[in-house]
């Protein structure tokens, strides 16, 4: 994506706060998060387990609602939108890679990759694009396999292919190697960064792995729901 203006923030948050009620007490998961991600950047959000990383990622994608604060995605204040409009926005500009792959078990590898394309109805060649991407991630021989018939590494490749299917502006990855052995993990990360480069995508990567975070151009540290300067 060459039209991305490098100095333009594709994502910024203001005083983002998330609290949940647990019985009588109120638990603050995230507090006053202000951050900015510019187009073309690769940013790692790191922190210990329970520091609020995944919650933050969910809020950035509009998958959950904050208690307070704002998220601007591609210059749109996403929490002023309704859920359907947020979904449409996600379909247009976001790609996801999850720790537990989150493939639809009912669909074959190709169909899983086609899914976001068909949902956004932006491309008539969904199947061709899906095939090409799957070939790119090394699954040319697994096109018609169901997730159940694939190994963990293969499933995550399908998930990566799916994430890039719509040519997203921003890729959000949540512990993408968390469910994989280290050798496979390294292959997957290499693949993800390669594709990121090829597609000129902005990357926000959530991880607890310091080594992995260092592959990104910038690190944002979270502790107890707050940004650590």
């Amino acid at each position: 994506m060459l039209d991305n203006d490098v100095n333009q923030p594709i994502l910024w948050t203001h005083a983002l706060t998330k609290q949940v009620n647990t019985g009588d007490t109120q638990l603050t998961i995230l507090q006053d998060i202000d951050l900015q991600v510019n187009a073309g950047e690769a940013v790692a959000i790191i922190g210990a387990s329970g520091s609020g990383k995944s919650t933050l990622l969910g809020l950035l994608a509009g998958l959950d609602l904050p208690t307070a604060g704002k998220v601007h995605l591609d210059a749109i204040d996403i929490f002023t939108l309704d859920e359907d409009s947020r979904a449409a926005l996600r379909g247009k500009i976001l790609g996801f890679v999850f720790q537990s792959f989150q493939l639809l078990p009912a669909l074959t590898a190709t169909e899983n990759v086609m899914l976001p394309l068909e949902l956004s109805q932006q491309n008539k060649n969904a199947e061709a694009i899906a095939r090409k991407l799957l070939e790119r991630v090394g699954l040319a021989k697994r096109l018609n396999h169901y997730p159940k018939q694939l190994s963990g590494g293969e499933q995550q490749r399908v998930a990566i292919a799916r994430a890039f299917a719509t040519d997203p502006k921003l890729l959000l990855a949540d512990e993408p190697t968390g469910n994989l052995d280290s050798a496979t993990g390294i292959q997957i990360i290499d693949l993800m960064f390669e594709l990121n480069r090829e597609h000129g995508t902005t990357l926000v990567l959530v991880t607890h792995d310091e080594a992995l975070s260092r592959r990104c151009s910038r690190q944002i540290r979270l502790a107890d729901g707050k940004l650590v300067p």
Binding site: L63, D84, A87, A88, Q102, A106, L119
Partner: protein, 836 residues
């Protein structure tokens, strides 16, 4: 590990967490639906029997040609039954100038025990206009006589006229419009009068050899009546017999029995629905407990320990849920009864506790049969699942598990149907339906999913989802199909049953019979009808003959000493008729009807009487008709629909054969109540013709049919509720997967509408499949049940395919979309984190 304690703790936790909602709800709806039907059917049946007993005047009659011993009445009183008695005999009534042969009924206090005597008010006894009707609250006072319309007309009586009955002089005080009596039939339908039994002696009419019928009337609690019946049966002499309404009136017997069978069918349908709902609900349960079991296994729990754990768990669950179901069933039935009091005239008798017990038992059996087997498979979940969540259970286990369910369900059916034949038909029907639906469903899903690449967006995802869950999809389609099939069968039979009843007794069903029409009166009678602008009804010839020989061998009442019923038939004269064509409500079951114009000596006999007197196709019967013998061979056996009020005959011969024998004619026709004066005129013009008025019986039967129809429709509502339980369980069974699916779809940018469309496609396919199965199964099963169990002709209805398929499709679609609304709105992140 204390299993009992642990399983109760697990149960409590799951119950509170809402994990058991679907299963418990399915069970509660099933048990409450069934107990409601059970309680209600029992009460309606009791009420209907009691109501039809109004025709009899009692719950039970003991009838004898000699005075009855006091011990009978004593025993009835001892059992807490109310009693009354009557003495019936033919006698002349005279107003001084004219005599009229009348059937006198001498009654004692309390008569009738069931039903009422309706009187025309005194002012209208001059019968100038439509009489005002009152209900008698007593019996005729000593010294008085109540007469019917015929006595009134023929003797031209007024109120307070005095008539002679034997040696007694009695004052006419009331005109009886309607009275209960069991012998509303051909035989004794002359004029009728009622007197007080205390005047009997004074009449001096009862002499040695008089033709008298002594009757003891008994009424009370159903159980006590049955006890009395059981007690008296072995005491009866040959001259005595016991009659309940079912013995007395075949058309009521047939209607009641059909209604009972239908109601038990409705109850059975709710059992099928319950089984299907539970089978569906338990899938979700096992899915949700896989992890827990894997953890317990990894922590060292043995298979046996897990077995005990779930056994206790489910027994407790079954008892609690079934008990709640029973309570709800009882309450629902109370409300229904309350609501229905306006429809069923009489107060409904209190039901027994049996339906509750049945409900409890059925709930447990269903749970053990359909829920426990797949749940017990949980014990074999590999402990490795704690590490690899994709490892689950093999499906073969649970398929075998359902076998136990099917066996228990079959036993339940046969028990609930209380009719081995009906039970077996249903079991065979449903088992073959399951096998055929299952195989066909599997095949169809395979074929359809092959087409998914050609299909557009929503359809592709719908088909993909169905295919991915192929086994569970087949199971859902089969369960939904069975549920819908049960509902369709009931609808089909219900409509046919009610239509058939109404058709057999249309509003213009003949309500008057004319008997004893002589050959020379036929012409003038037809002219009489024309005068009143009534289409002359067909006249059936009738020749009276006594059966004297079978295949050349003499028969007499003594030949049937062991069979009172047969003996009575031989003693009596048969009415023989002739006809060229088979009557429309008759059906040949053996042999063939004769060719027009035949002169062969052949006859057609009704199948029931043929069985009673033990004759078969090809036998030769000889009748003594007015001293000369007539012999003919049985060339056909007929089934006669006795619940119509048309004139029907046991024995029919071809025209011409009986020409040389003395014949009279019989006919039946409808007279609207407003034109009853025509009957008065007919009686005056043709004094020798016997007019039999069956309007009252017809009214009562029509009313009863109306009530039964309504009861059936109410009961059907509950079966429908069971259908919703299945639907709910089917939707809920895949709810978890859907919530997950929704989260991914929404994360990837799907709008609600896109997701709804994909699901709608899936539900429509599933529902359409179920509807198609249901239509096929219902047509076949309704045919078999109508023909072989309820005994009426079933008409195939092509619309059922359209209605069934569309109902399935739309029903599942609507319920599915409503049921998955929450899955659409749950925040994606929450779901993904819960599952991931």
């Amino acid at each position: 590990m204390n299993h009992l304690k642990l399983s109760f703790r697990m149960l409590r936790r799951d119950w509170r967490a809402g994990e058991l909602n679907v299963l418990v709800l399915a069970l509660i709806i099933a048990v409450s639906g069934m107990t409601t039907v059970g309680f209600f059917a029992e009460r309606v049946e009791l009420a209907l029997t009691r109501e039809s007993n109004q025709l009899l005047g009692a719950d039970l009659l003991v009838i004898s040609s000699r005075p009855l011993p006091d011990t009978y009445a004593d025993e009835a009183s001892r059992l807490g039954l109310t009693i009354s008695s009557l003495t019936k005999f033919p006698s002349m009534i005279s107003d001084g100038e004219n005599n009229l042969l009348t059937e006198i009924k001498a009654v004692t206090e309390g008569y009738p025990l069931r039903g009422r005597i309706y009187l025309a008010s005194r002012s209208s006894m001059s019968r100038a206009e439509q009489p005002e009707i009152t209900i008698a609250d007593t019996i005729p006072q000593p010294g008085t006589i109540w007469v019917d319309e015929k006595v009134m007309t023929r003797l031209d009586l007024k109120a307070n006229d005095v008539v002679d009955v034997g040696a007694a002089q009695l004052t006419v005080t009331e005109l009886v419009v309607r009275e209960p009596d069991h012998s509303v039939g051909f035989i004794n339908m002359g004029a009728r009068a009622m007197i007080n039994a205390s005047d009997l002696l004074e009449t001096d009419l009862i002499q040695e050899g008089s033709r008298v019928s002594y009757q003891l009337l008994v009424a009370g609690e159903v159980k006590a009546v049955q006890q009395f019946r059981d007690w008296i049966k072995p005491q009866l002499t040959k001259a005595q017999r016991v009659e309940g309404i079912r013995d007395a009136r075949p058309e009521i017997k047939a209607a009641l029995e059909r209604a009972e069978k239908f109601l038990s069918l409705a109850a059975l349908a709710s059992v099928v629905l319950a089984a299907a709902a539970i089978a569906l609900a338990v899938r979700r349960f096992t899915q949700r407990h896989l992890d827990g079991c894997a953890v317990m296994r990894s922590l060292g729990a043995s298979q046996q320990q897990l077995f005990h754990l779930y056994w206790y768990y489910f027994t407790a669950l079954g008892v609690i849920a079934s008990a709640i179901g029973c309570l709800i069933g009882f309450a629902a039935q109370q409300i229904l009864t309350h609501w229905l009091i306006g429809i069923v005239d009489t107060a409904l008798p209190w039901p027994s506790w049996l339906p509750a017990l049945q409900g409890l038992l059925v709930g447990l059996v269903l749970l053990v049969g359909f829920a426990l087997p797949p749940v017990l498979n949980l014990r074999s979940v590999p402990a490795l699942r704690v590490l690899r969540r994709d490892i689950g259970l093999s499906n073969t286990h649970s398929l075998a598990g359902y076998l136990l369910g099917l066996v228990t369900l079959s036993l339940l059916f046969i028990w609930k149907a209380q009719d081995l034949k009906l039970g077996l038909y249903i079991v065979t029907g449903f088992v073959s339906a399951i096998i055929i639906f299952g195989c066909l469903g599997w095949l169809l899903i395979k074929v359809l999913s092959g087409l998914r690449h050609q299909a557009g967006g929503a359809w592709r995802y719908g088909l993909a989802s169905i295919y991915r869950r192929a086994i569970s999809s087949v199971l859902q389609a089969v369960a939904l199909g069975l549920g819908l099939m049960a509902l369709l069968v009931l609808t089909l039979i219900q409509n046919d049953l009610i239509d058939d009843w109404h058709a057999s007794l249309p509003p213009n069903a003949p309500n008057h019979f004319l008997v004893n029409i002589q050959v020379d009166q036929v012409q003038s009678l037809q002219e009489f009808f024309q005068q009143y602008e009534i289409e002359p009804p067909p006249m059936y010839p009738m020749v009276k003959g006594r059966l004297v020989k079978i295949n050349g061998k003499n028969v007499s009442p003594k030949s049937y000493k062991d069979d009172l019923h047969a003996e009575r038939h031989i003693r009596r004269e048969f009415n023989l008729t002739w006809a060229d064509e088979l009557s429309s409500d008759n059906q040949i079951v053996q042999g063939a009807w004769w060719n027009t114009g035949t002169h062969e000596a052949e006859l057609s006999i009704e199948e029931g009487i043929a069985k009673t007197i033990r004759v078969k196709l090809g036998d030769e019967l000889t009748y003594d008709i007015a001293g000369s013998h007539f012999t003919a061979k049985i060339t056909s056996v007929r089934k006669v629909d006795w619940d119509t009020f048309k004139a029907n005959f046991f024995v029919v011969v071809p025209p011409g054969l009986l020409d040389n024998y003395p014949a009279s004619f019989v006919t039946s026709f409808y007279v609207p109540p407003a034109e009853i004066s025509m009957i008065h005129e007919l009686v005056r013009t043709f004094p020798s013709i016997l007019v039999v008025d069956v309007a009252m019986v017809i009214n009562q039967v029509q009313q009863m049919i109306q009530q039964v129809s309504q009861a059936i429709e109410f009961v059907f509502l509950f079966t429908l509720l069971g259908g919703f339980a299945v639907l709910y369980a089917a939707i809920a069974a895949t709810q978890d997967e859907r919530i997950y699916e929704a989260a991914i779809f929404r994360t990837l940018g799907a709008r609600r509408e896109q997701l709804s469309r994909a699901w709608a496609a899936e539900f429509a396919i599933l529902g359409g499949l179920a509807g198609l199965f249901a239509s096929a199964g219902a047509s076949a099963l309704a045919y078999v049940i109508s023909k072989h169990v309820l005994h009426f002709d079933y008409t195939f209805n092509p619309w059922i395919w359209v209605v069934g398929t569309l109902t399935g499709m739309i029903g599942v679609l609507v319920a599915g979309l409503l049921g998955t609304r929450s899955a659409l709105s749950s925040p994606p992140l929450l779901t993904l984190r819960k599952i991931g």
